[in-house]
Every structure is written in C-alpha cells, then in structure tokens.
C-alpha cells in the first residue's frame, strides 16, 4: 500500500500533548508509522495544521427518521443542492443531505468517524443500509433504550442483571455501539399522547420515573462495562425553565463510577446541552434567559460527565428526535408540517422543519447559549462541538461554529450586525460577559477529536496521531504560528480540508475529493454476558404476543451489516 509523508505541518494532538510542533506524520499500509521510505509520496503541510481525523459523537445521518426528514422535504433540495462534480456522485440536500453528500461533506471537514445518534432497534436494518451507502466515513449507531418495554419492566424491579442480559442481546442484534436514552419514559407516555416533563413524573402503566430509568441504565451500562457511557437527552427539552430538569438529571451521576477497560471516565454523556439550558417561563425576551452558566458550573466540577453542545447555526433546518412529544409541541409553535413514527415496544420519532431566524430574539439567544457552553467549559476534553445535526443546524456548519469560538470578533460582529435583537440577547444571556473569550486550536482538537474519542471509549481507534493508529489525518490551511486576522478564513479552512487521509488512503487532495471508494467500517460492540433463561423467555414471549415481526427475523442478518468491526466486551471473563 502507498506510503505517504505529511511533511513539516504544525501537529496538534492532545492525546500526546503535541501543540503545534512542526513534525512529519508518516503513513504506511493504512496506519501511522514512525518512518517511511524515500518512495513515500509527499504532502507538503508547511504552514498548515495537522490533526487526527475528526470524531462526531452525535449526528442524525443514517436511519428511518433521517430518511423521513429527507423524504418529506423536497424543498430542502430545490435550488439548495450543489451541482455534481464530474468525478463524484450526485449530492443532494441542505439540512438533511443524501447519504452521499453526508459522506463527502464530512470528508471535506476532515472527519473520519460519525456516530449515528439514535437507532430504533426494530429498524436497525435500515440504519445499516444507509451506513453501507454512505461513502468514506466510519460509522456506528446507538440503539435507543430509554422507553423500551423490556427495560422499563426490569428497571422498575431493579433487575440489573436481567436488564444487562436484555441490553446485551439487543446491542448484538442491532450491531449497536452504545445506549442512547431519549426523553426517558416520556416517549413511552407519548404512545398515549402524554409526556414526562420532570424526571420524577411516572410513566403511564409502567409506573417508573425517568430518574429511575436513567439510574438503572447507568447501572446496566457499567455492569456491561461498555466502551461508552449512557448517552442522554433528558426530559423537558426545549422548554423555558428546563434547566432545573437538566441539573436534576446531571446530578444522577453522583455516586457512580465508570466501569470499563477503554479509558472512559464519565458515567453519563449529555447531548445537545444547549436545548436544555433555558431559564424563564416563555420565549419572550422579557422572560427567557440563559442558564448555561448554572449548568456548566455543575458540569465543570463533575468529572463523571461529558457533554456535547448542540450549537444553533441560524439556518433553516429540520428538527428530528426520538422526543416525539417535543416535536408535536414544536409543530404547534410554528404550524409547519409534522412527521411522527411511534415504534412498537421501543421508541418514537418526530420530524418538523424549523427556521432559526436571526431576526428573532429567541434564535439569537439559543445561538448564544450554544457558544457559552464551550466558552464556559473548564475541561475542553469533556465538552464536544456538535449541532445535533440537523436539529440546531446542518453538520457542515461546524467550521462556522469553530469560527465563532476561535474568534471573539466574529462572534461580536454577528451580535452587532446580524442579530436583530442583539441587545436583548446580551441582556438575557452570558454571551456579553464572554465577549473576549476565544478557544485555541489545541482546545478545538480536544473538542472534536481526542475528547469525543475518549468519551466513546475508542481512543485506540480514532482521535489520535499516535504511531499504530489507523491513519485518519486531516491537514488544514491554518498556520498556528500565523493565525488569520480575518475569521472567515477559519471557516473556509476547516470546511475545505487541504488534505484528508482515511485509513491511509488519500481521500481529499488539494481541497478536492479524489477518492471516495475506500473501505469504511460499521463499528459495533459485541457484548457477552452470562446466559439468562429468564430474559430469553421474556424475549420470546414479547415477540410472540406484542411485536409484529418474528423473533428470528429481528436481529440484523450478517449480510446486511457493512464491513463490521466488532469491539468485544465480555463480562464473563
């Protein structure tokens, strides 16, 4: 296989404490190696930044509700799709891109791994089909478990081993990676048109609270010693005053210790935290306020937590989430079209278009809150940059988020020139107090590479330029020794990677995709637990009586999983 040497770049790799040191990165046979022969092809990275390929910990890119979002929005494609480049396949869509555009755009940002944020277990095969058709990037998917009938019953009775046995079976059946918990209990209540707003509201019939579900899932996750912690989207998302629910949720981690062999240190990852930091009792500027500081004060001192931001990009986008009742609420606010899919025994999903209009006060405030989280975070390796794509904005806007964090000027200019109610936004959020704060490129690498990889428990696979790692390497037109005075150049540079290697294959060269056919992997966790006859019986029983598919047709057949890479976790050893 071809050898490459990326010469003379400024390397930024928090996993090795390297901060801008001029070094060569050598690639051979798909891996990072210490040296290569003279035959190695040279990529001149002089004056450029070299980082490991990006790791996206939470993005809705593959699966039924993503596809529902694509299908019901023809207008997301009309006049909003780029013209096809001659050597590439067609790319369609703005806020919910086609799988081809998804793969290409992540590559253009230098990302090598994306975690599909929510996989409904019954429809796992759909997720895997889309993963197969998405070029370049490695992917994994997190099955949603917070409203699963098996678990609601086991956790009600504190049957951790049974919960573990079922969850293990389900991770294997779906080839899933981690346990996603969305609006715990509330989405089962939505099966009756109801919801759980606080974490102590009881779920109809199952008589368990969201707090009990989340604590039970933490215990189950640690019992299974999984690489990632539970990944939570707590109750009451998007509502003014919800920050109290958020703090209640985050505090559930107290007393728990991470139990795994992957270097993971958190017991809960809370996602798109921006949507959960609202104060006040309405969206009007006379009442609404940011509570990002109150929330981050707790996050900063609680090492058992990691978070991702869910930054608003101020675009017309599409919201999609397993928080079914929230989407119903949203369609009432904006009167736009609403798609919903309740999934038997397991979960639900809702999809509604949404416009974050900078001419409205609230979009400005949400935008500010998202940025405050990163600026207030003390441990940048516990705070990761996302947009909850496409909920707060399309993922290919990440470089714009970086710009707003790397450059206070860019942020302040936007407040002054683009937000119609910039003054009110400053009055009701913390963005004014943070007006001179900027992150460094090192911190950016922590927030988009080493941090998410560690939280996901696969630092041995992604997010690092250590020798022996798979060669996912990105080279950007940013010179750490001569940072751009025009912040637009950050957005341009991080959105158009100069060179990107995926598993040692040159994918982007001179800012253009030159190869999109390299192998890509489906990463999943093969969980092994002791035999459990009770759970086996419960599974057979529920399939016989409640599901509408046969048990033997539920687990994804081997031939439908694309290039699987299993991480084995055997608790019987």
């Amino acid at each position: 296989m071809t050898e490459y040497i990326i010469k003379n770049g400024c390397v930024i790799d928090p996993t090795q404490g390297i901060n801008g040191q001029k070094m060569d990165i050598c690639i051979k046979d798909g891996k990072i190696v210490d040296k290569v022969s003279k035959a190695a092809k040279v990529v001149d990275a002089t004056g450029k930044t070299v980082m490991a390929g990006g790791v996206d910990i939470h993005s809705h890119v593959a699966g039924p509700k993503v596809d529902a979002g694509r299908l019901f929005r023809p207008e997301d494609k009309l006049f909003k799709s780029p013209n096809r480049k001659s050597n590439l396949r067609m790319e369609m869509g703005f806020s919910v891109p086609s799988v081809v555009k998804t793969g290409y755009d992540y590559a253009r940002m230098g990302y090598g791994f994306v975690m599909e944020a929510a996989m409904p277990p019954l429809e796992a095969a759909h997720v895997h089909e889309e993963i197969r058709d998405t070029p370049i990037i490695d992917e994994a998917a997190m099955p949603v478990v917070g409203n699963n009938w098996f678990l609601l019953e086991y956790l009600k009775n504190h049957e951790t081993e049974n919960a573990g046995a079922y969850t293990s079976w389900m991770l294997n059946a779906t080839r899933g990676y981690a346990l996603k918990c969305v609006n715990p209990g509330g989405t089962e209540a939505w099966g009756w048109g109801l919801n759980c707003i606080t974490i102590h509201d009881k779920v109809p019939y199952f008589d368990i609270t969201p707090a009990e579900i989340m604590k039970g899932l933490i215990e189950t996750n640690e019992y299974l010693r999984l690489p990632h912690s539970i990944h939570v989207h707590t109750n009451n998302l998007g509502n003014p005053g919800n920050y109290t629910t958020t703090l209640d949720t985050l505090k559930l981690v107290e007393g728990y210790k991470p139990n795994n062999d992957f270097g993971r240190e958190q017991v809960m990852h809370h996602t798109h935290l921006q949507f959960h930091c609202y104060g006040g009792d309405s969206f009007k500027s006379s009442s609404f306020e940011s509570k990002s500081k109150e929330v981050m004060d707790y996050v900063n001192k609680q090492k058992g937590l990691t978070i991702d931001t869910g930054n608003v990009t101020l675009d017309e986008t599409t919201t999609m989430t397993a928080d079914g009742p929230f989407e119903y609420h949203l369609t009432h606010l904006n009167h736009l079209k609403w798609t919903n899919v309740d999934i038997e025994l397991e979960t639900a999903a809702g999809v509604v278009p949404f416009i974050y209009d900078p001419k409205t006060y609230i979009a400005g405030a949400q935008w500010a809150i998202g940025l405050e989280l990163s600026l207030l975070a003390k441990d940048k390796d516990r705070c990761f940059i996302t947009t909850d794509h496409p909920n707060a904005g399309p993922f290919w806007r990440y470089p714009r988020i970086y710009k707003w964090l790397l450059s206070a000027k860019a942020r302040n200019d936007l407040i002054a020139n683009e937000l119609k109610y910039g003054d009110k936004v400053i009055d009701t959020t913390y963005i004014g107090e943070l007006s001179d704060k900027e992150i460094s490129l090192y911190e950016l690498a922590q927030m988009t590479r080493s941090g998410p990889a560690k939280a996901l428990g696969f630092s041995h696979l992604y997010g690092s330029l250590k020798t022996g790692m798979n060669a996912n390497v990105a080279v950007y037109d940013v010179d750490p020794e001569n940072l751009p005075s025009d912040p637009e150049q950050y957005e341009t540079a991080f959105g158009n990677v100069f060179a990107f290697f995926k598993d040692g294959v040159l994918c982007v060269e001179n800012h253009e995709i030159v190869n999109y056919s390299m192998p890509k992997k489906t990463v999943w966790v093969n969980s092994i637990v002791p035999e459990n006859k009770q759970v086996e019986r419960d599974i057979r029983d529920k399939f016989l009586h409640s599901y509408t598919v046969d048990l033997e047709n539920y687990a994804v057949f081997d031939e439908h999983v694309h290039n699987p890479y299993a991480i084995k976790v055997d608790i019987t050893e």
């Binding site: 019901f72 009309l78 009167h335 736009l336 079209k337």
Partner: protein, 266 residues
C-alpha cells in the same frame, strides 16, 4: 428598451428546458453569446442558436431587455424562470413552469400555458392569453411558501390547484377552474370569473377568494355571513360573503379570529 427576437426554427423530439431564456441572462450579452446560452433536451445540452434564429439586441440590464419569442414554443419549459425585470412575449402556446419563481418584470403568453405556470411567483406580471393546466401560481411540492406577490392573469380556463399555499399577490382567472382553489392559502387574492366545480378555499387559513360564476360543491366548512358590495378587477357587484374553512386553524388578531373570505357573486 432593446428587443431580442427569437424564432424557434426546429422542434425537439422530446421537450426543451430553457430556464436561461430570461432578460437577466440576456442582459449585456451579444447575439452570439445569447446564441451560446445552454438549453437542454433530456440529458443532451444544446446552444440556443441550434434551435432558433436570434435577432436584435439585448439591453444593458434586465430591465432594459425585452424578449419576443416567435414560432412554436409549445414544447419548451421554464421560460422566464426567476427573472427580476424586463419583458418576455411568447407568441404561441408554451409548456411548463412559465414565469416560475419570477421576482419582477412582465411575461405575456399569447397562447395556452401548461402546468406549474407562475410557480412560487414573488412579483411582476404574468399574463396568459389562453388556458392553463394545473398548479397555477402554486407552491413547489413540500414548500409551505407559495406565491407571495405579483399579478398572475389567465384569460381562459384553468385546471386544479390554483394558488395552493398562496401567501400574497393576485391570481385572476377569466374562465372556469376545476377544483382546489386557494388550498392551504395563507394570504393573497384569487378571482375566478367563471365557475368552479368544488373545493374552493379548502384548508385555507386566510386570504380572499372571489367567484363570479357558480360553485357546484361548496365546502361544508364555509358559513354564510352577509352580502357585500365589492369591486373586483374593476367591476363592482354584490357578493354573498362566506367565511371559513371552519375545519382549519386560524390566527387571531386583537382577540378576533381571522378567517378566509369567500365571495360568491349573487
């Protein structure tokens, strides 16, 4: 105003797409450059000059550019797409999307037009001296933002979906319509001088619809209120005033619910 006269001398085997035949695209271009403008038939692209004789001169700006189309343009789509100013006259029937997404300027068709005429129109004047098929002044599939401005006039008859998802502007139909007038409308005015079979104002949130002829099947969601005198396209008459659709959501202003008004000439 300068005029470019284009005579179609060759017919396509299938249909031609001519979205670049607009004053905006022609402005400032020489006749040779205009002849090089790309049209397509399926996947095959041609220069405009390979199908047409082109004479005259363009203006420096769209506003100063007039285009006259002679010959038979029945099988040509997308003329005038997204234009902002200037004028186009088409002296034959024309196919789909005529004046699609137009923002300003004036288009006159001396013949019939096909479907999707004036799709998502935002401004200007679009006049069809003939009939139109379906989706006249309507929105693109899935977009809740349809026609927002301008005046779309059809002297003859139209089919279904007149002003679907309309938000502003005016549509005037000289003849009859089939079904679905102002469906999902949230603004704007539609005038039908002939008859409509049914489904007038179905799911309409707000706006004004005038029908001078008869409606065979009134929507149950429309309730008679009173008789009023209105001047419609320059003619005064008495109309039975209905409000509705009572089966749809409606905004309130100052505590009062605002309905769509349906005026049926007495």
């Amino acid at each position: 105003m300068n005029t470019v006269t284009i005579t179609l001398v060759k017919q396509p085997q299938l249909f031609l797409e001519a979205d670049l035949v607009t004053p905006d695209q022609f402005a400032g271009k020489s006749i040779e450059a205009i002849g090089a403008i790309e049209i397509s038939e399926g996947k095959i692209k041609y220069p405009l000059a390979s199908f047409a004789k082109i004479e005259g001169a363009s203006g420096a700006t769209a506003e100063e550019t007039k285009i006259v189309l002679n010959g038979d343009w029945t099988r040509v789509k997308r003329i005038g797409q997204k234009m902002t100013a200037g004028e186009i006259i088409i002296n034959s029937n024309v196919d789909m999307y005529t004046g699609g997404w137009m923002i300003g300027g004036k288009i006159t068709v001396n013949g019939n037009a096909d479907s999707f005429t004036g799709i998502a129109m935002a401004g200007g004047e679009l006049t069809i001296n003939g009939d139109c098929l379906n989706h006249v002044g309507s929105a693109y599939r899935g977009d809740w933002r349809g026609m927002t401005g301008g005046v779309l006039r059809v002297t003859g008859n139209v089919g279904n979906d007149i002003g679907t998802f309309m938000r502003g502007g005016t549509i005037i139909v000289g003849g009859d319509a089939f079904i679905h007038v102002h469906t999902h409308g949230e603004g704007g005015t539609i005038i039908v001088k002939g008859n409509v079979e049914g489904r007038v104002g179905g799911q309409s949130v707000k706006g004004d619809v005038f029908v001078n002829g008869t409606i065979d099947f009134m929507m149950p969601g429309y309730k008679y209120v009173d008789d009023v005198e209105k001047e419609v396209d320059g003619v005064k008459a008495v109309y039975a005033h209905y409000i509705g659709d009572l089966g749809e959501r409606h905004p309130t202003s100052k505590g009062v619910q605002i309905f769509t008004n349906l005026y049926l000439k007495k």
